[in-house]
């Protein structure tokens, strides 16, 4: 497809390029760098919680900063840029256009990410990824908190610019011979998630500004001491961030729609059902935000409305699972590395969704809310589904990007270790939550069940950590020294269901 690494070019040529594959490469490298940075913080958290008492992190404040930056990094600086990377590489090709609709805007959207990342990392705020007032107004230390706010502000703008670009590329620049009903599901996933971004992000963007002026003391929107209401912030925040979870997950599902049929050597079971589920999810996803707020003192009616809204979105997610299984059914499946990651991701997606239903049922949520159950729940999505789909897709696009094959054996070892690790960490955390352990704690009382489950989770995390080192070694070594790939059919599955994987980079 692109072969950047086969025909070396000076680095500045890629950095100043606006071509979609170059911007895709920049997104890719940035997102992977943040995956490893954010992942190291996760290992620090797990090491700290291995036993009660202070272990490796000296004090609670440092610990609080670490989990805040961990979450912020992996959501905004790994998952989102990774999806943008895939979108940059594949969307123009799939709609048969020469580039993104607005190449300069595309490069600008990318270049907003490094400064935002720097603000978040140099600040190292402690107020969790919610930045909930009044804590974030009256208690969170600056300048870290303010730097986080500016960082997120920039990331929000970058997201919106990217979304506009994807929408216009898909709707306006697709080849005239191509109807919208022929656009591959991966591109559909970008269309749906970009639509959600446009509707959802401005709300949080406004809330962030209000938070900033509240911190400066010139307003009191969310500050009860000045007549403001912290609950208003919670609504604005979740109005953006519940739909945002679909922004995170939908592209990963799109990537699986690319992998599953290819390695099952069958067409997708139902293209229409995939499109329908994407569109449905992006609409119904807006009806459930306050399921994060059952314990804030909402009325029975409010809780009921948001429970119904949440449950209503479940069939749309479930349809994807059906589509994947029906596609694999009776297929001549080849379990190459990308396929293993995709199938593993689907299994974890299903488990995560089942747990989500329990959260949504209002009386059960009072057991699970803000315990480790919730940590387990959303990590089965962000790690188990989204990172799995993304990493699988990275293996899948590796030969197209580098022109070389990764080491298949190391890829499989990476998968098996990560899968075992993920199950150990996040299934255990669900149970730990049922035993009542709150999330976001630096230390915990020596309750034997809590200690045991924390230790299982820490061991699981270390297994993932080791597998990620194998992954990194594989990527670095293979991109320079791996066997040359047959880009016509790198995985030997036959070319029948291939899209044309060609992008004419003017610099080549």
């Amino acid at each position: 497809m692109v072969l950047e690494l086969q025909k070396p070019r000076p680095i500045w040529q890629i950095m100043f390029s606006t071509h979609h594959t170059d911007v895709g490469l920049l997104y890719l490298i940035t997102s992977l760098a943040f995956l490893f940075l954010g992942g190291s913080l996760a290992l620090a958290i797990r090491a700290e919680l291995f036993l009660p008492g202070a272990q490796i992190i000296g004090d609670a404040m440092t610990f609080n900063r670490i989990f805040t930056v961990h979450g912020t990094t992996l959501i905004f600086l790994f998952i989102l840029p990774f999806a943008s990377s895939v979108g940059n590489y594949f969307v123009p090709i799939m709609v048969r256009y020469k580039d993104m609709a607005y190449p300069k805007l595309n490069a600008i959207a990318f270049w907003m990410i490094p400064p935002a990342g720097a603000l978040i990392w140099l600040g190292f705020a402690d107020f969790t990824w919610y930045a909930t007032p009044p804590y974030s107004i009256i208690s969170a230390p600056g300048p870290a908190a303010d730097m986080w706010i500016f960082g997120l502000k920039i990331l929000g703008i970058s997201s919106v610019l990217g979304a506009i670009n994807f929408i216009v590329t898909i709707l306006k620049c697709k080849h005239p011979d191509m109807s919208i009903g022929q656009v591959p599901l991966l591109a559909w996933s970008f269309l749906s998630s970009s639509m959600i971004i446009l509707v959802a992000i401005p709300t949080f963007a406004a809330a962030l500004l209000m938070l900033l002026t509240d911190r400066l003391g010139v307003s009191g929107f969310f500050n009860p001491a000045m007549g403001g209401d912290p609950i208003a912030y919670a609504h604005l925040f979740w109005f953006t961030f519940h739909p945002e979870v679909y922004v995170l997950v939908i592209p990963a599902i799109g990537m699986m729609y690319e992998i599953i049929p290819r390695f099952s050597r069958k067409p997708i079971y139902s293209y229409n059902s995939g499109v329908f589920a994407f569109v449905l999810l992006s609409i119904v996803g807006f009806s459930s935000w306050a399921h994060h707020m059952y314990a804030t003192g909402m009325s029975f009616t409010e809780k009921t409305v948001f429970m119904v809204g949440t449950l209503a979105a479940v069939p749309a997610s479930a349809m994807h699972v059906f589509n994947f299984i029906a596609t694999m059914w009776n297929g001549r499946i080849k379990f190459s590395t990308p396929m293993m990651w995709a199938v593993g991701g689907i299994a974890l997606f299903f488990s995560a969704g089942a747990g989500g239903v329990a959260n949504a049922a209002m009386p059960l949520d009072f057991t699970t809310h803000d315990t480790y159950w919730v940590v387990g729940h959303f990590h089965l999505f962000v790690m188990g589904t989204i990172a799995f789909g993304s990493i699988g897709f990275l293996y899948y696009m590796f030969p197209y990007v580098t022109g070389r094959m990764y080491n298949e054996k190391m890829g499989k070892v990476h998968f098996v270790m990560s899968f075992i690790g993920t199950v150990l960490v996040f299934f255990t955390q669900h149970v730990l939550g049922l035993y009542g352990m709150p999330r976001r704690v630096f230390d915990y009382p020596p309750i034997p069940e809590w200690i045991a489950m924390n230790q299982i989770a820490t061991v699981g995390a270390m297994i993932i950590g080791v597998s990620m080192v194998i992954f990194l070694a594989n990527m670095i070594y293979s991109s320079g020294k791996g066997a040359l790939a047959n880009t016509e059919d790198p995985f030997g599955v036959g070319g029948k269901y291939y899209y044309p994987f060609e992008a004419k980079n003017p610099s080549h």
């Binding site: 609080n64 107020f127 009860p224 001491a225 609950i231 589509n323 057991t367 009382p445």
Partner: protein, 143 residues
């Protein structure tokens, strides 16, 4: 779509919808019953602040970090906060309600057995959030 029939997917979707309706109905019914505060419940004012809990009984007595109640009686907590958000939690009795400055949230419970239970804060509230803990003592009736 290739011309295959789609009935397995329709059945599957119908099953998922039926399951969701069932979960929703059960949850609705349970929550409706849980929210009904008994008329004779005694009020305890719970105040969260960085980083401890204060309890004020109807007779005006105050306790810090410890809460003594009698078995078999119903109690209604009125939960407030002096600074930032907290969440009042007695996990063993599924008591969970946020303490939010500027608001009074209520939740009730009726302890069924004599014993001790952990009280904790379940909403991030800063430096010592992890140790914003207390103990509930459920005691035999005094008279």
């Amino acid at each position: 779509m290739s011309g295959h029939s789609n009935w397995p997917e329709w059945i599957y979707v119908a099953v998922v919808i039926a399951l969701m309706v069932w979960v929703g109905a059960e949850a609705w019914e349970a929550e409706r019953l849980i929210e009904h505060v008994p008329a004779d419940a005694k009020t305890i004012i719970v105040t969260g602040q960085q980083w401890f809990w204060t309890f004020e009984h109807e007779d005006g007595t105050k306790e810090i970090g410890e809460l003594h109640v009698e078995v078999g009686k119903a109690y209604k907590f009125e939960i407030v906060s002096k600074d930032v958000n907290h969440s009042f939690n007695i996990h063993d009795y599924v008591v969970l309600m946020d303490a939010i400055p500027g608001r009074v949230n209520t939740v009730w419970f009726a302890p069924t057995e004599v014993g001790q239970h952990d009280i904790q804060c379940r909403e991030y509230c800063g430096l010592i959030h992890y140790n914003m803990r207390g103990t509930l003592y459920v005691e035999a009736p005094s008279s």
